[in-house]
């Protein structure tokens, strides 16, 4: 059903993955191609494909002429209502920013929609490159309704958007993230110090304080440095109408018949 070589490849790859994450340390060399070929009885090409896969994934790094080594661990950023600066400080890193734009503009339809505004209403717009210990990590565009924070840019771009909201009595308390992945475009690649085409994690966030939509933001995080961590809990039971309807009863939310 499947080419045998695919399964062999997966076996070598998963063996290396376990080795890298549980037995070797950052900077350690991995076993030689020859050793791996012998151990698994596979061709050099299969070993190379397995190593390539982990290089692409960011677990291994190739150094020209020296060999292949365990790459530094990626930071696990919790998906939660905290900001880039807070998360970096929590890890003992110093956050900083380069402001690309800080201006008041008329909301385009998509921004208006995300902020519960009408198109054309005024919003503050901030476009920044975010650094951790001086290294570029993410690009962030954010918008917030002008009427929530009059004079926001009067003393230049604020260091903390959430901080400015709190100062005005708006405590961000819930939101939604959309997480996507794509190759980085050439402009963002320049700003992040990435090769064009490397993967980035794209996060689109709406932040609310109670019933007020406060901030809308779009960020691109270097996927070679970050992973996201998301806690999961079981969904609450679904509500179904009490009176029996004329339709055939639907299966209960048991999954036994489904492809899990």
């Amino acid at each position: 059903m499947v080419r045998h070589s695919v399964l062999k490849y997966v076996r070598v790859r998963d063996y290396l993955r376990s080795l890298v994450t549980h037995e070797l340390a950052v900077g350690d060399a991995i076993p030689s191609e020859r050793l791996l070929c012998e151990r698994f009885g596979v061709s050099r090409m299969t070993v190379r494909q397995a190593v390539d896969a982990l290089v692409v994934e960011g677990l291994l790094e190739r150094e020209q002429g020296r060999g292949t080594f365990v790459a530094p661990t990626k930071m696990d950023l919790e998906v939660r209502l905290s900001s880039f600066g807070e998360e970096m400080r929590r890890r003992g890193m110093e956050p900083s920013s380069k402001v690309l734009a800080a201006e008041e503009v008329a909301a385009s339809p998509d921004i208006a929609d995300a902020l519960d505004l009408l198109p054309g209403e005024q919003v503050f717009y901030l476009h920044r490159v975010r650094y951790a210990d001086g290294e570029p990590m993410a690009i962030e565009q954010s918008w917030l309704p002008s009427r929530l924070a009059p004079g926001l840019f009067d003393d230049g771009a604020p260091a903390s958007v959430y901080g400015e909201l709190r100062r005005r009595g708006l405590e961000p308390d819930w939101g939604e993230d959309i997480v996507a992945a794509s190759e980085v475009d050439s402009q963002d690649a320049d700003l992040l110090g990435l090769r064009t085409g490397r993967a980035v994690l794209r996060m689109t966030r709406r932040t609310f304080a109670g019933d007020t939509a406060c901030v809308y933001s779009r960020s691109s995080y270097r996927a070679d440095r970050y992973v996201l961590w998301v806690p999961l809990r079981a969904p609450r039971r679904a509500l179904t109408p009490t009176p029996a309807t004329e339709e055939a009863p639907r299966a209960a939310p048991s999954l036994e018949s489904e492809h899990s």
Binding site: D113, W174, D211, A238, L239
Partner: protein, 77 residues
Amino acid sequence: MTDQAALILAALGGVANIIDIEPCTTRLRSEVRDPARVDVPALRAAGAHGVMISGHVVQVVVGPSVDTLATDLEELM
């Protein structure tokens, strides 16, 4: 808040249009019989911060009050 629950239920096309409603942290996710009977402007007017319709599934962004709303909705269903 029961008012909001009633408005939302009506905007979803009423109990007869509901297959189920599931509270999801910040959204009500409902499977409906006829998506054409969902009134999006009425949902926004009832305080929804967004409405996504895809096939028979309607998602209504309501925030953390979703738990209270679900309890209120249960009584109306």
